[in-house]
């Protein structure tokens, strides 16, 4: 657990330094999901870093809200998919680390392009069906933003997964209550999301401490035990946008804004370099 906590801090530093270096990108949601990504790749999923697209015999992960690419890239690099050094190319010309994740430049660990919202769950369902057809008992994980649930396609996918008894998929919703224009309740109120998902036929787990590594691992493990029962599983993960950097928390302001030099210094001070070392 201590090693995973170290990962969390180092990933926060990566996120902050990556977006600062190009004065663009999405630190808020990335920081809010750092513990989730660390839990997923550090504890939960069974995968090979010797990447192949089909991923037969491996758990797969699809990031639907592709704008939180900094946390995705840092996690993939820190867990061995590609050299950590490459993080410094984020959002720069000729990089495999595009603003939003893509297969187009051949970055190991990425299985579909995302960024235009609402599409990842459908793709994950397709991959989960392929696993069933291949008699592959590994699981498919996804992450959606809560703001992303505004997109209609998500609800098509939610309906499909339940109607067709897709029980090898675990969907997590980054339930931070914020989107670009403000709080989700003001922009497009999700109302009782738990009830909505339940009414759509999903088993819904909820974790109030979505930035607590141990709690995240526990809820993901619980979700795993609920697979294979004819019902898709969703996790409402209450996260804090900008978690780990005090001035980025409690606001939607850091959704898509990079810190300046001074802000970076303060943020990094709150997350000192670990023995994993900066890239």
């Amino acid at each position: 657990m201590e090693q995973l906590q170290t990962h969390v801090v180092q990933t926060r530093r990566d996120i902050l330094r990556m977006v600062h270096a190009v004065n663009s990108g999405h630190p808020g949601g990335s920081l809010g999901c750092t513990e989730f990504f660390t839990a997923l790749y550090g504890e939960i999923m069974d995968y090979s870093t010797d990447f192949n697209m089909d991923g037969i015999g491996e758990d797969l992960f699809f990031l639907s809200n592709g704008h939180i690419s900094p946390v995705y890239y840092s996690t993939l690099a820190r867990f061995g998919f590609f050299p950590v050094e490459e993080l410094k190319t984020f959002r720069k010309i000729n990089s495999r680390l595009q603003g939003h994740p893509t297969t187009h430049e051949g970055l190991p660990g990425i299985r579909v392009a995302t960024g235009s919202l609402g599409q990842g769950l459908s793709v994950a369902i397709g991959a989960a069906i392929a696993k069933k057809l291949n008699n592959d008992d590994k699981l498919v994980y996804t992450l959606q933003g809560d703001g992303e649930l505004n997109e209609g396609q998500i609800w098509e996918a939610l309906m499909y997964a339940a109607a067709k008894n897709m029980d090898n998929i675990i969907t997590t919703i980054d339930y931070n209550g914020r989107q670009i224009d403000g709080d989700t309740k003001d922009v497009m109120d999700l109302a009782n999301l738990h009830d909505k998902l339940t009414a759509f036929g999903w088993l819904v787990l909820e974790e109030k401490e979505g930035n607590n590594l141990e709690k995240i691992i526990a809820v993901l493990k619980k979700a795993k035990t609920e697979t294979g029962k004819g019902v898709p599983v969703a996790i409402l993960l209450h996260t804090e946008m900008g978690n780990g950097v005090d001035f980025m928390m409690g606001t939607h302001a850091w959704h898509g804004k990079a810190p300046n030099d001074e802000q970076l210094e303060i943020a990094l001070k709150q997350n000192p370099e670990t023995d994993l070392k900066d890239y």
Binding site: G115, G126, L133
Partner: protein, 315 residues
């Protein structure tokens, strides 16, 4: 004269359905999806014979495109079928991001394309789909002319790696290409040699062009006719070789004049061998309800319109 005797009329969508049935029996990786139009797409036999490989997604085309993209991860070859309107315009961003940009081996199979869907009217008569699809990097765009060609194309695209848009239609039309044809993606077919003008036609307009060639011949004009089933990548050589001989070209398609085959040819000619070109295509308008033949006539896509267009650019 081109032999325009035929023994049977059949819809091109049945060629797709029968091709898919054959794939279901021969290629274990082929899976099929449909958005509540299984009968219209002629996918019932595949569904009946391969219930575990057929996925009914309901009236949710965006989700169908995403699921198709995901199915390729694990080695499946998804054939996603619906009407052309819902297979392109409705789901453009899903195709763009999850399929084309992601380089997924998905076959988008679109029936009821163009005006000849008939009485349902303009809401369903997409005339912009070729343009939408050909603009996507890496997308192969195919528009077939009869039952046999559609069946052969369906088999061929399963063996092709990469995203494909396969466009076909609703009405029964004469079968005039051979049942045992070898379908080569990106390769045009010389239907008739001539020296006065080149006619390049795709889809249902190949038949109309055949009738037009015979009409023109009666009037002493010998037209060369090229059947182009693959709009992207375009068979540039067959077109350039022909216009070097004839010096004039008429393109024919059941599509808006903007964004279609004609525009691709115009781009080819201006860069290589500029000649005068006439467009037989829908003149930047929406369609309407009517029978297929009434619509073809009214919107200038019939054999008569091709004859008129040829004469217009010849004299």
């Amino acid at each position: 004269m081109i032999d325009v005797n035929y023994t049977e009329k059949k819809d091109t969508r049945s060629g797709f359905g029968d091709g898919l049935t054959e794939l279901g029996r021969t290629n274990p990786n082929v899976v099929a999806l449909c958005a509540d139009l299984t009968g219209s797409l002629k996918m019932e036999v595949f569904e009946k014979e391969n219930p575990d490989l057929f996925f009914q997604v309901g009236i949710a085309e965006a989700n169908m495109m995403g699921i198709s993209a995901g199915l390729t991860i694990g080695g499946k070859i998804p054939f996603a079928g619906t009407f052309a309107n819902f297979a392109t315009g409705r789901v453009y961003d899903q195709i763009r991001q999850s399929i084309a940009y992601s380089g997924k081996n998905v076959k988008i199979c679109a029936s009821h394309a163009g005006l000849t869907l008939g009485e349902d009217g303009a809401t369903h008569q997409i005339l912009e789909d070729i343009g939408l699809m050909k603009m996507l990097p890496g997308m192969t765009v195919i528009n077939t002319c009869d039952y046999n060609q559609t069946k052969a194309a369906t088999l061929a695209i399963a063996a092709h790696k990469g995203p494909v848009y396969l466009r076909f239609g609703r009405p029964a039309v004469p079968i005039f290409t051979p049942a045992d044809q070898k379908f080569e993606i990106g390769k045009g077919i010389m239907m008739h040699e001539g020296k006065d003008v080149t006619i390049v036609a795709t889809g249902h307009l190949v038949w109309e062009a055949m009738l037009a060639v015979n009409e023109l011949e009666k009037e002493g004009i010998t037209a060369e006719l090229i059947n182009i089933h693959t709009i992207k990548p375009l068979d540039e050589a067959i077109i350039l070789n022909s216009v070097r001989k004839t010096g004039k070209l008429v393109s024919c398609e059941e599509h808006n004049k903007y964004g279609g085959l004609g525009e691709s040819i115009a781009g080819l000619l201006t860069q290589n061998f500029p000649v005068k070109q006439g467009f037989v295509a829908v003149n930047d308008t929406f369609g309407e309800s009517g029978t297929p033949s009434e619509l073809m006539k009214k919107y200038g896509l019939s054999a008569d319109s091709i004859v008129d267009k040829v004469k217009k650019i010849m004299y």
